[in-house]
């Protein structure tokens, strides 16, 4: 390698700022290229994790379910599955056997009970009394109520002895019993303890001895215990193996003459499909902008090439004069800047992986996906290096080989004449139209609305369109700026001339800055809007963090709340006789505001309203009317006519459904006794609430928790997509700052010459600084104002359209973006100030030699 090339890396050190900016540009480009892929993979992992709660613990793999099998048929099914499972990578299956409810006498009494057994099942029960010896375990409610002693042998001694008393299982079903909850948890609304007890066999032998009392089993379940898959690939692999196992088991049973004996399924398959859709939605939605951003980064590498060519012009000309070709000159650029670009790119790839938990969805990704993402970053790095070499080589060829070229200006300006904004506007329009359909068809059972990825690109396409239009207008204005005659204000005139003199660079920086600010605003707005919507919708639907229904006596206060549920709870009664009629809710003003989900309300106003409806005038009952389309006050038996004291769009527990709210304090005890349905709202987790009621032996159906009442995946998909848009905005902001610094540094010599002349002509340094402030402030100010205005407007318009669950109030609202706007303005101001000082400093520190050369 010739000496000039060998020593080129050392030459790079002559300008540390350029090395730094070069490395930073490559870092950002490779970071984005890698982060796009990682973000999409993490979205898939997060979607899988999110969906893990949608099925039971033993339903992530194959799940065999059979009804009405004889005990021998059940054994055949279990054996077949057990034999075939290892071939498909599954371990030992867990067999659950449940008889129908039958009758047997324990001692002197006859009870109705279901005999249940599951491999290792007693390990998932809480033994209150007795031992783990072979026999039967009786539920504590039955044992306590009937004073059933241990050792009792039912059915005249035909059944194994009762060796233990376990704590009865209650809803919500504990994880291990989730898939068999209808077989192992007694519905207290239907079955009395004496008519629906569950008796567990401690082992298979005990079950086999006891089951002779039954001809057939009600259910046979064969499943596999395994932790939930953490990635989409893992889930898909497990599902594929599960389907193969089911097919083999079916074939084996058919061969033995037992076709259709058992139904095999992969319950997690639907979640896998949804996660796959979520991944593709996020991936396809962020891809266009990510490609654009990576191209901006690569263009940055190209700009660095141009800047290097300008800085090293003398050396390039010397080498060209000595017969070195354009390729060699390009390789010289590579030799000088290749190391910072490569190191920066590698750091970007590494940073994208390390920072993934901070910016990406909370999902696990596999190492293969990490390598694939790194390959994407590597491709961006290679593209950057190729662009660097190509641009330098092309320039060298044009200047030192081809000589003068006709129509070069036209060709170089050709991209400026392409109406890019029409293309982006068309994408925005198409996205907007598709967005109109979004969320309109979602239901509780099918929660992920059919989202067209094009719809998710709509806000960014609008920002892009406005950015391009702003650039075009700025370009035209700068071309016409020679008409401006503002010499009475020298800083302004100078700033205008400088801007006009470098209008291509100015427009480039302007577009990138505007895109950065716009995408930051729209990303933050939509993303936080989705999070807020999910919280508020679930909060409004449940009424608080969690809730359970309770009996009338608890509601009226006749039966006190259990000790564990006396704090952080509030009782709400409901009159809701017929569907379509407005609900009348009875709230306790003392506890309601502290417990219910009232984040969308002004606390003081809500307290005042509740206070107002707590003081009836005797003839009418004051009430709050709820709903965007309120219904006429219903006539409620036992209550005075309702008098509307105020209107509210939404209310906890009622959401946005038409209804009325009255105060418990305004009702007499007799009127309270007429309330048919009571709910306890809690500000704590559901587990604590249900445990309190279970411990007290109190019935508490319809347990609901804010955490799982709605499928959050549709919200997350939009949230993850726009989180990435926010990240892109941040990266573009850094690119914009770097571009501004490079632009100022590139014009160092021109600035210095002009400044020297101007100062000699009598201009004060302060005036010079003001002119730079005006110049750079115009770019920063215009980009900030246009970006914030566009971003906030688009976010405000689209945040409601991105509501995936439109049937449930409240509608998503634009979050408070004041903090973001203040931050953007502050950063812009600081950057403008620093770059202006840099420009003035470069003028003051220029050596006479540099001036002479200029």
């Amino acid at each position: 390698m010739p000496l000039a090339w060998r020593t080129a890396p050392r030459a790079a050190l002559s300008s540390p700022l350029v090395v730094l900016i070069t490395a930073a540009t490559a870092l950002l480009t490779c970071f984005l290229a890698t982060a796009t892929s990682l973000h999409t993979s993490a979205a898939a992992g997060a979607a899988i994790a999110d969906r893990a709660g949608s099925v039971c613990e033993d339903q992530y793999g194959p799940f065999f379910n059979a009804r009405s099998l004889t005990p021998s048929e059940a054994a055949l099914v279990a054996d077949t599955v057990r034999t075939r499972a290892p071939e498909h990578g599954f371990g030992r299956p867990v067999v659950g056997l449940y008889t129908p409810v039958g009758a047997a006498e324990f001692g002197d009494e006859t009870y109705r009970f279901r005999l249940a057994y599951r491999d290792g099942g007693v390990d998932d029960l809480e033994l209150l009394r007795g031992t783990r010896d072979s026999g039967l375990w009786v539920g504590s409610e039955l044992a306590d109520a009937e004073n059933m002693p241990l050792g009792t042998r039912a059915h005249g001694g035909a059944l194994p002895p009762t060796t233990g008393v376990y704590r009865d299982l209650r809803l919500p079903a504990p994880g291990p019993w989730c898939s068999a909850r209808d077989m192992t948890i007694t519905n207290r609304l239907v079955d009395h303890i004496e008519t629906g007890a569950i008796v567990f066999a401690t082992d298979r032998d005990a079950f086999d001895r006891a089951v002779t009392h039954f001809d057939r089993l009600e259910r046979t379940v064969v499943s596999f215990r395994a932790p939930p898959p953490s990635t989409l690939d893992e889930a898909e692999d497990r599902a594929a193996r599960a389907r193969a196992l089911i097919a083999d088991v079916d074939a084996d049973l058919r061969a033995r003459g037992h076709a259709d004996l058992v139904h095999g399924s992969v319950p997690f398959q639907r979640s896998i499909d949804l996660a796959g859709r979520a991944e593709s939605n996020v991936g396809l939605s962020i891809l266009p902008l990510a490609i654009l951003a990576v191209l901006v980064g690569c263009a940055g590498a190209g700009m660095l090439g141009v800047q290097w060519y300008q800085r090293r012009y003398a050396v390039i000309r010397l080498l060209a004069a000595r017969g070195h070709g354009p390729g060699a000159v390009g390789l010289l650029a590579l030799a000088e800047l290749g190391l910072p670009v490569t190191l920066g790119g590698a750091a970007g790839i590494l940073l994208a992986r390390v920072l993934l938990p901070a910016y990406g969805p909370p999902g696990t990704i596999e190492s293969a996906e990490t390598w694939a993402a790194a390959a994407g970053g590597g491709a961006a790095l290679a593209l950057s290096l190729l662009l660097l070499v190509s641009i330098v080589a092309l320039r060298a060829h044009r200047e030192f080989q081809r000589g003068r070229a006709a129509s070069r200006r036209l060709r170089s300006r050709l991209p400026a004449y392409v109406p890019w904004e029409l293309g982006t506007a068309a994408v925005a329009w198409a996205g907007w139209l598709r967005l109109a359909e979004y969320g309109g068809t979602s239901r509780l059972g099918d929660p992920l609305p059919q989202v067209d990825p094009l719809a998710l690109t709509y806000p960014v396409a609008v920002v892009l369109t406005v950015g391009i239009v702003t650039a075009r207008v700025a370009f035209v204005l700068l071309r016409l700026s020679h008409r401006a005659r503002l010499w009475s204000r020298p800083p302004l005139q100078l700033a205008i001339r400088r801007l006009a003199g470098a209008r291509a660079a100015v427009v480039g920086v302007l577009v990138v800055t505007m895109l950065a600010v716009g995408t930051l605003a729209v990303g933050t707005g939509v993303s936080e809007g989705q999070r807020g919507a999910l919280e508020n919708k679930t909060g409004m639907y449940v009424g608080a963090e969690s809730s359970v229904d309770v009996g009338r006596s608890v509601g009226t206060g006749e039966t006190p709340l259990p000790a564990g549920a006396r704090t952080g709870t509030s009782l709400v009664g409901r009159f809701n006789y017929t569907a379509g009629e407005p609900t009348v809710a009875v709230v306790d003003p003392e506890t309601f505001t502290g417990v219910a989900w009232t984040r969308t309300f002004d606390d003081a106003r809500l307290r005042a309203l509740l206070e107002r409806i707590s003081a009836p005038d005797g003839r009418q009952l004051p009430a709050l009317r709820v709903g965007a389309h309120p219904a006429a006050p219903p006539e409620v038996a036992g209550l005075p006519p309702l008098d509307v004291a105020a209107d509210l769009d939404t209310f906890p527990l009622l959401s946005g459904e038409p209804g009325y709210v009255v105060s418990r304090d305004a009702l007499t005890d007799a009127q309270l006794a007429e309330v048919p349905q009571w709910t306890v709202l809690s500000s704590g987790p559901l587990r604590d609430l249900t445990r309190a009621f279970s411990d007290a032996g109190m019935v508490h159906p319809n347990a609901e928790s804010r955490a799982d009442v709605l499928d959050a995946l549709p919200f997350h998909v939009v949230d993850w997509t726009f989180s990435f848009v926010t990240l892109l905005g941040l990266v573009l902001a850094v690119v914009a700052i770097l571009a501004l610094v490079v632009a100022v540094e590139t014009r160092r010599r021109q600035n210095a010459l002009a400044a020297t002349l101007l100062v000699r002509m009598g201009m004060r340094p302060a005036t010079l600084l003001r002119s730079h402030l005006a110049e750079l402030g115009a770019i920063g100010g215009l980009a900030t104002v246009a970006g914030v205005a566009t971003g906030v407007t688009v976010a405000a318009i689209s945040v409601r359209r991105f509501d995936p669950v439109r049937w449930l109030a409240p509608v998503p609202e634009l979050p408070d973006l004041a903090g973001l706007i203040v931050s953007v303005v502050a950063v812009s101001t600081v950057v403008v100030l620093l770059t202006a000082l840099l420009a003035v400093r470069s003028a003051r520190t220029t050596t006479p030699a540099e001036l002479l050369r200029a």
Binding site: L3, A314, V315, L319, A320, A321, Q401
Partner: protein, 244 residues
């Protein structure tokens, strides 16, 4: 003594025209120039600013292709050559010295490094130390071999630039106003170097309006408005005769 200008010319230019495109239409940088440049001695292209000196030098340095006319170097028609062949000619036969001294050197290399890099660029991968020492001594730069080129004065840098041309051992040396950015003392020392070059068996073409440099010329080509105004050989120049 240099060879007679009537010997086989190094460059043969016939009706050479170079046009520059400008927003106001094409502007002629060189108009219908027919000229022979002898293979030895020093030819000075003289004329006021804008007369076409630098354009002609760019044509001779193979940086520019004429729009019309032919240019031959050692009998080879340059217009017919591919980019590769033109680069090969630049590499092996031509050395260029630019007006600004620092533009002729690689700033990250030492004085000796620059000489070695120059020799290397012409295919001389082995450049003996004693030859390097001789060149430096010839240039009046002995003892500066390990210096950074930025430590040299403008005059020293320009002399080193001619040293690089010597190290390349090309038969043609083109120089664009080599004394215009130097003070008198430095310019005088550069002129000494040029005088010694002119005495060798080399084609030296220099653009200049420095009277002292014109005095050294074996042939003076005067240009005006892009056209050839007058050509004077050494003997004729001494008599004050110009021919066109």
């Amino acid at each position: 003594m240099p060879e007679s200008p009537t010997a086989t010319p190094a460059y043969r230019l016939r009706s050479v025209c170079v046009d520059y495109p400008t927003p106001a239409g094409p502007v002629s940088g060189a108009r219908d120039i027919t000229l022979d440049i002898p293979s030895t001695g020093m030819t000075v292209l003289a004329g006021p600013s804008g007369s076409g000196k630098s354009t002609l030098l760019r044509v001779l340095g193979l940086f520019e292709r004429p729009d019309r006319g032919t240019v031959e170097l050692d009998g080879t028609d340059l217009a017919r050559l591919s980019h590769r062949r033109r680069r090969a000619l630049r590499r092996g036969r031509i050395s260029l010295v630019f007006q600004n001294p620092v533009d002729n050197l690689l700033p990250q290399l030492s004085v000796a490094g620059n000489l070695r890099a120059a020799a290397e660029s012409a295919g001389r991968h082995r450049y003996p130390d004693d030859e390097l020492g001789d060149v430096l001594e010839d240039l009046g730069l002995d003892g500066t071999g390990e210096w950074s080129v930025t430590a040299l004065s403008g005059g020293q840098q320009q002399r080193l630039a001619f040293g690089c041309a010597l190290a390349r051992r090309t038969p043609v040396i083109l120089a664009d106003e080599p004394t215009s950015q130097l003070d008198d003392t430095s310019a005088t020392r550069v002129l000494d170097v040029l005088r010694r070059l002119a005495d060798r068996d080399l084609t030296v073409v220099v653009t200049s309006h420095d009277g002292r440099l014109i005095d050294l010329a074996t042939r003076v080509v005067r240009l005006r408005d892009g056209a050839l105004h007058a050509v004077a050989d050494e003997a004729e120049a001494e008599k004050g005769h110009d021919t066109v």
